[in-house]
Amino acid sequence: MTRFVLGRIGFYTLIAVLLAFFTVPLLWLAAAPFTSNPTYEVSLPDFTVANFAAILEHPYALGSLYNSLLLAVGTAVLVVLLAALAAYALSRVRLPGRDALLYALLLLSSIITGTAAMVPLFQLAVELDLIDSQLGLILILTGGLLPAAVFMLKDFMDSTPKSYEESARVFGASPLQIVGHVVVPLVRPGLATIAVWSIANVWGNFLMPYLLLSDIEKQPGAVIMFTLYTEGGQANLPLLSTFGLLYSVPVVLMYLFVSKKYGFRFHGGIKR
């Protein structure tokens, strides 16, 4: 009995320490923007809004958040559209070497957006005249995310019974009608997952925009954050914390919205 109690106490102490470890940075992020002179410590805020006024005056801060949104949404739309079509085809059509192809793509894609491909990607962008272009950046980011997205979505489509589509086919639905009426509604949670995952991925990507965009007006939030230093070369904590908060809020909101709207549920209609 004593052993059990001691074990429980030990278990919950460990949980508490772990929680504190992860909570403190979040607390800092919540408190520091409202503190006049924030340090690295978590302290009670004095609820000033001066930091927000300062960030509004920053020439690129708000624009960069808009850029982040543009890049993230643009990439997500492309990834969802292309991955859905590819995954549907790969899931429903038997091709020799299909799985090998998918694995190879997945493996190679981890290189494409990675540091290893930095130089060739830069070269490629210059050659194609896509350097310093947000469209070019969106295309390259899409390319990097697509294989993993196809892989995940194909798994999702594989688990959707074929008889739904066959049923629609016997009723005379055309392939496009089948996709529109049946397949897309059925895999909507999967599509939402891919969209959220793409947005979160692009939102936090620093390397690619830093590398491929030179005009600071086109830079997304992740890069602008890197410029928030004082004249002395020290991190500008008031601005950094405030911008960090603004930068993270959209992603959190998106997660809440999507999980409430779609979540992962299955309505049935196939008797198992």
Binding site: E166, F171, K271
Partner: protein, 354 residues
């Protein structure tokens, strides 16, 4: 309404598996036709080939005088109920039933009205706004039927329509389905692996094995006179007794017992021939006293089937089963005799009925 005709239908899957081997089949207009067979016999492939979901390797499918072999499923004017019903989970019952009409570009108000009409007929009126996930198995099945009815197709195809219902519901659904088919009068082909279901519902049935049709006939014909030992063993809730024997002059010697030649095989056997003697447990009477021309042995097992008992006799090293009415069942270990009905016993030579 239309007849379905299959001519030399062959389906070979990539990899060389021959699912259908040159099948010929004629289902007349308005008939309720069952495709029966063990799993893997090709019955579902046959149904899917009629629907157009599988393309025939050879041969042709004719529906209502029109050769539809190369026609897409949607152009064949057939409707299909899938084993898992395949109701669209994101649509309510009304939209599910009206879906075929939506494809035909029927106006929204008209198709909702038609869906309601069909739904009411199948007792779904109070469920029209529900999603399939909120319905019981039996209700889902009726929605699937309603959706098929809404198409007003020339022929219906049912793939194991009852196999997903629990036992009690299945009996109700069986009666319901047969009544519905009678009323609608639409040519219907259904696939089942349950011989009782096929016997109960079908006007005519085909028994399949390994891509071949082994017998076509009415349930009564197939039950009373199975064309071969495969059908004999497959049909019937208590398996048919199939016993090896030899012709000895005017009589047969089966399991060490002397039996008269059944009426169906009279004058068609030659002396000394090896045969298989087939008789259903239901077509034998039980006697406790020795009788001429009967299987005599010791009662090994007595199984209670409700109103009747299935008695297993051990006769000269083989087992013979006989159905005995309740109240007159023997005790295990007793001596017993099973007398085959001469007009129902069958003789099989090389697997085929004589």
């Amino acid at each position: 309404m239309a007849a379905i005709e299959l001519r030399g239908l062959t389906k070979v899957y990539p990899g060389g598996v021959k699912a259908l081997d040159s099948l010929d089949l004629m289902v007349p207009d308005g008939e309720f036709f069952a495709l029966l067979g063990p799993s893997g016999c090709g019955k579902t492939t046959l149904l899917r080939t009629i629907a157009g979901l599988e393309t025939a390797t050879d041969g042709s499918v004719v529906i209502g005088e029109r050769d539809v072999t190369g026609v897409q499923p949607g152009g064949r004017d057939v409707a299909m109920v899938f084993q898992d019903y395949a109701l669209f989970p994101h649509m309510d019952v009304t939209d599910n039933i009206a879906y075929p009409l939506r494809i035909k570009k029927v106006a929204k108000a008209t198709r909702a009205g038609r869906a309601r009409e069909v739904g009411e007929r199948l007792g779904l009126a109070h469920l029209m706004d529900r999603r399939p996930g909120q319905l019981s198995g039996g209700q889902q099945q009726r929605v699937a039927l309603a959706r098929v009815m809404a198409t007003q197709a020339q022929a219906f195809l049912f793939d194991e329509p009852l196999s997903n219902l629990d036992a009690r519901l299945r009996l109700e659904a069986r009666t319901f389905l047969k009544k519905l088919q009678r009323e609608l009068g639409v040519t219907t082909v259904f696939v089942t692996h349950d011989q009782a279901e096929a016997l109960a519902m079908a006007d005519r049935m085909a028994v399949m094995e390994n891509g071949h049709i082994r017998q076509i006939g009415t349930p009564a014909e197939v039950f009373q006179r199975p064309a071969n030992t495969f059908v004999a063993a497959f049909i019937g809730s208590t398996p048919m007794n199939l016993l090896e024997g030899v012709v000895r002059g005017e009589r047969l010697e089966v399991a060490g017992c002397k039996l008269p030649v059944p009426a169906s095989a009279e004058g068609r056997l030659s002396d000394g021939e090896q045969i298989v003697y087939g008789v259903r447990p239901e077509y034998m009477t039980y006697a406790a006293e020795p009788v001429e021309g009967a299987f005599g042995g010791r009662v090994a097992i007595v199984e209670n089937l409700g109103a009747v008992h299935l008695v297993t006799l051990e006769v000269g090293g083989v087992l013979v089963q006989v159905v005995v009415p309740e109240g007159s069942e023997p005790a295990p270990g007793a001596e017993g005799f099973a007398v085959p009905r001469g007009d129902r016993a069958l003789i099989y030579r090389d697997g085929n009925v004589v």
